[in-house]
Amino acid sequence: MSENFRSIETKFLDKTNRISFKYNGKKYYGYKGDTLASALLSNGVHLIGRSFKYHRPRGIMTCGSEEPNAIVQIGGNGSFTEPNVRATEQEIYEGLEASSQNCWPSVEFDIGGINNFISPVIPSGFYYKTFMWPKKFWYSLYEPAIRMSAGLGKSPTQPDPELYDHNHLHCDVLVVGGGISGIIAASISADNGNNTVLIDDKNSLGGSSIYQNNENFKIDDEISSIWLDKKIKELKNKKNLTIKRRTSLAAFHSYNYLLARENLADHKSLDKRLNKLRQRLWKIRAKKVILATGAIERPLIFNNNDRPGVMLANSVKKYIDYYGVRCGDKNIIFTNNDSAYETAISLNKKGINVSIVDIRNNSSSILVKNAKDAGIKIYWNNTVVNTKGYRKIKSIQIMEMSKDGTNVVGKKTNLPCDNLSISGGWTPMVHLFTQSGGKLKFRDSDQIFLPNTEMSDQISVGSCNGDFELDDVIKNTVSECKNFISTSVTDYDSLKVSCPKQKENKNIWLLPNDKPLGKTKPFLDFQNDSTAKDIKLAMREGFKSIEHVKRYTTTGMGTDQGKLANMHALGIISETAGVKMGSLGTTTFRPPYTPLTFGTIVGRNVGTFFDITRKTPIHEWHKNHKAEFENVGQWKRAWYYPKDGESMHQAVQRESKAARESAGILDASTLGKIDIKGTDASEFLNRVYTNAWSKLGIGKCRYGLMLNEDGMVYDDGVTTRLDENHYVMTTTTGGAANVLSKLEDYLQTEWPELDVWLTSVTDHYATASVCGPNSKNILKKLFPILEFNDGNFPHMSFKNTELDGINCRIMRISFTGEHSYEINIESKYGKSLWEKCMDAGKEFNITPYGTETMHLLRAEKGFIIVGQDTDGTMTPIDLQMDWIVSKKKYDFIGKRSLYRSDTMREDRKQLVGLLTDNPNEILEEGAQIVQDEKKQPIEMLGHVTSSYFSPNLNRSIALAVVKNGKNLKGQKLLVPMKDKTINVTVSDFIFFDSKNERLNA
């Protein structure tokens, strides 16, 4: 296809770089620098998609991020596919594939178009009023039908082939927007020694001023665009200034924290993008922010204002002046203000047919005079009452307006056209300002919201601050910036600016029509198909708040987030309700400013980097020995070590037997370890644990239970007294960080008088736990100088020693019930220590075991695991651990809570053992326990917390918490499963070696 609508050459496109792309399967050409929209327009393609609800044909309306209609699926069907891309922002690249959305079988012939014909029956909110009868049809018919119509584009179905990056950026001044006011602001800021960053979402700077070629706009006697072009060139050499193009601000949070998306690859062809960075999210902290985000043109609201070919006037100007593309051969401009005359003059100069319909009576500005002089036909005091043309506008009907502007009079005039450029004035882009917490004020003269009070150090300059005339923009931007960054002189102080003063516009939110509103379709939200009559319907039904109207009619909830629709919705609401617009407020502008890719928000934190992986110093050994790993918090722990095809069950049975029969070894390095020093260390432990510590001998170990202030078990572990004022505490793996921070909290805030120092040494030590009847023999081999008799080295004691000259701490403590030692060594020797243990234990068949076997072994002994056998609702008394709760101590964390009416109840859930009547039946952890299955409602007494098949007892065992359990020993209870009921008997929770004989074996 040739580009029949490319009228002129411009410097903004690279004419030497012709690019082919596909749209709906058809090949087209454009140039480097074209957006998909400009390239399609140059080929005469206007019809882009179908609207959400009525499936009406829609075309390109704008040239920027406010585009409601021209959204397409990009990147074909493969992994690069992306839904809902605005054709007005997507730059074309060689091989780009784009297709229309929300239409079937094609955008030209769309079955969904039938909705347009039933539209009288489906006004806003119709679905709340129907589909209720008969009830069962909701599930079988109505809901699936509603679901089917959901959505615009299609979700990708393959993983993303591109990468994303994050970067933090700290600067003195961030300037958002590279139009003329942003350029001036950035330049002043950088010139005054501020580390300044200027970002702009386009691929080139200059905003709409850079293609301004009307000789009425001059700065220092040059056409404004030529002057601006020079300034942009100067910027590039400025110190302190960083310019980021293709970077759009997504969110402006409080404390001047801003998020900006830098586009690195979306304009490049796909073959250059695989596994490369696509976008970067800049997390910006700016001391000061200058918003120069500009304004967008308002549409006009009249009957059938949504046809392909109806465009915003300033966009039509950009297409001709920037891209060299004319949007029609027979253009009509429909306006309520002077700015659209620039478009008319620009088209006229290129010999393109254009006429104007103006709802005003007259205007005496230079622009209007120029238009008249150029012979452009102007229909004053007229409004468009209808448009015709299904897939592309063909003609419009205009009528004269009554004096007060509320009605139309006289006869209709038919005007043929292939483009209708509409202009309803300008709306400052205050979205980012309000995102940051800023409050707006309303300016009646031109019916706009403006920044009023801000929450952080920032200013808004240029048209986003309500300055629309070039001289005002420059003058006010300069003076605001001087004030903002405290400087008195700038390069821009004595600029000579001339521009045509534009006259006030005539704002009518909903233009009058000869037909009753009910018979017309004046669209406000083009994407979601909400019309002025929907707004009025909502208000009639009592939805008066703007948020109600928005939600009821879905106005402003499309992918453009109502950038075009919201002001008119507000205007019509205030008119209908008869209240002042300024008093209504606005709906909340929520981040992001334009939709932001999930991948960009996540950055490189995917896959491996989804979460931290913590490894022990012995991890490599486990891996090399085919261990399966269990995630425990962020740790990877060896779970079990299957040997040649063993199942988990088989491996665990083998490991457990070995540990009890001869020797086992466990990597216990993940346990939290806190070094505690200070003259008040014992007193500190007295306060944080339930039991007493002062009398613990040096070199002795003791198990401690830590509660929350609410009396519930929080953590447990063995603490060793290394010296008079020196302890080392161990915590659970998962609890380590929280315990340390909790203890620091108490020390710093509640007990600052205590002389206690805490230092984490979790990572400093590797810990190998050797257990089993032969553990002593193995340690004897490793530490020949150490006396291992019970007199010198009894259970619950500690020795400081050396292995090959390296210091080791050995605790004789046991979590398995076996004679057992925990050897701690500097972690760089951890793997080597482990290997030495394996060597020394070879003759005893030392067997490495993982967490599963550890859990089994401790369950045989009735030792709890905090978090598995407790759930934040268990007191130590509930665990039948009364022995560890000191009655003598005046206070400890959580003590008071144990004496509340509920925590003192005798029939709370208590830890018990459960034995199945069938010894081979293993209860499911989590299974519920009842006494009477028949009684309704069924009373659940508790649940199974831990359950295993014990190879050492040759039967299944389980721990459970059961209501009044401590009084139920010997009682038969039931465990009802989905398909059967299991008979169990309450037992003691110590199943194995209840006299602890093995500890000293």
Binding site: F131, M132, A150, G153, P156, T157, P159, V602, D871
Partner: protein
């Protein structure tokens, strides 16, 4: 009821260009006195008023709302409805609500689009498995539908989940409640308001409560921006602002109000036909009738009434979404927002009398109040009308924080709502 909504009424009204629809609710000025006043025009407050009028014949009542009805957490949540709670008290409460949801559209003649597409909770570590199985067993015995799914069954039920064993926290299984699902959040507030209004309840918007007037240990009325309103019974359903009202009445509550965020993607054609929640890999997602992915983020840890949370929370949530659904990487976030949720130490609500006669609180719903809306309203209405709790909300009294008899829903089987 005033003009009944149906396809017939839609057709009839289309003939007059929909210009003859009645107001869904009036816009009344407050009367001098009511038999009861509900503070807070969210779903829970409006439902309370609806059931007070419908079941307890209390029609001279008002709902006062600071802003616009349904503008708080009702209109800001991710609309998940389920009843698969662990403890008996919670299961009773939430399943009562779920049963009401099942015929709510018909009851209030307003289509709340309750969609029972199922809610799946995923397990990612062994303790998750234990906790979720424990909950499944408890649910089954409590008569609540719940199934345990293996990893393969999870994949079958929702094929787009990444169930590879090689991800950081592989899916080890999950639970499914098929009766659970989602509803259209705004419709719930609007439907109850319309229903209550039809029975004579005054729904008064833009009416901020400025004070609670007490005489001794009983309430006398409320000071509002629209003047003093006399009443002997005040039901406070003010969600994030509960403590503000409590402070006016001179009582303290065990609440903290924190920002909770949520977000939606751009709309796409149907891609996920259920609700999937994951606690360990903190993410939950469903797809709305418009096609947006509706994604719940977490709460921040600090008190804030700003309705905005920190970006880290959103980033963390999307990170989890991409871990479980790598295909969503190129999807785009359209809109994010925050609400203020009032959280109790045990993650269970308070539906209770207070030490002040005639003052009732319904609060502490934290991140999960939407699902309970009909049940909460019904039981709170019962409590207000009878000055005694219903057996289903007896456990959710304020005194539990003194006795220690908490309903600890995060201690046990912590599940994001």
């Amino acid at each position: 009821m005033k003009n009944k909504y149906s396809i017939i009424s839609l057709l009839k009204n289309s003939l007059s260009y929909h210009e003859n629809w009645q107001q869904a609710w009036r816009d009344p000025e407050p009367k001098k006195e009511y038999d009861a006043v509900i503070i807070g025009g969210g779903g829970h407050g409006l439902a309370t008023a609806f059931y007070l009028a419908k079941k307890h014949n209390m029609k001279n009542i008002a709902v006062v709302e600071k802003g616009w009805i349904g503008g708080g957490n009702t209109g800001r949540n991710t609309t998940i409805i389920r009843s698969n709670y662990l403890w008996d008290a919670s299961a009773g409460l939430y399943d009562h609500a779920l049963k009401l949801w099942e015929s709510l559209s018909q009851e209030i003649n307003y289509n709340v689009m309750f969609s029972q597409r199922g809610v799946m909770n995923l397990a990612h570590n062994l303790q998750d498995v234990r906790d979720l199985k424990r909950r499944t067993h408890a649910n089954r015995l409590n008569g609540i539908d719940a199934e345990w799914l293996s990893t393969e069954e999870v994949k079958k039920f929702c094929p787009i989940i990444n169930t590879s064993p090689n991800i950081r926290y592989p899916v080890l299984g999950g639970t499914l409640q098929r009766r659970a699902g989602t509803a259209r959040h705004d419709a719930v507030a609007w439907g109850y308001a319309r229903g209550a209004d039809a029975m004579g309840v005054d729904v008064i918007q833009n009416c901020e409560v400025k004070g609670i007037k007490r005489k001794g240990d009983a309430v006398e009325g409320i000071e509002t921006t629209k003047g003093f309103i006399k009443t002997k019974k005040i039901g406070v359903v003010a969600a994030g602002h509960s403590s503000v009202i409590a402070n006016m009445a001179g009582i303290r509550l065990p609440l903290e109000s924190k920002p909770l965020q949520a977000l939606v993607s751009e709309p796409v054609k149907p891609i996920i036909n259920t609700v999937v929640m994951s606690n360990a890999v903190h993410a939950y997602v469903s797809q709305s009738d418009k096609g947006e992915l509706v994604i719940g983020a977490g709460t921040d840890a600090y008190v804030s009434y700003t309705q905005r949370g920190s970006h880290d929370v959103v980033e963390g949530t999307l990170k989890a979404i991409l871990e479980l659904y790598p295909i969503f990487s190129r999807m785009k976030m359209l809109r994010q927002w925050g609400g203020i949720v009032d959280i109790c130490p045990d993650a269970s609500p308070i539906i209770s009398k207070t030490s002040i006669k005639g003052l009732y609180f319904n609060c502490g719903w934290g991140t999960g109040g939407f699902k309970a809306t009909p049940g909460s309203g019904d039981l709170f209405a019962h409590t207000i009308a009878n000055d005694e709790p219903h057996s289903l909300n007896a456990a959710f009294n304020i005194n539990r924080f003194v006795s220690g008899d908490l309903v600890d829903e995060h201690g046990a089987a912590a599940v994001a709502h």
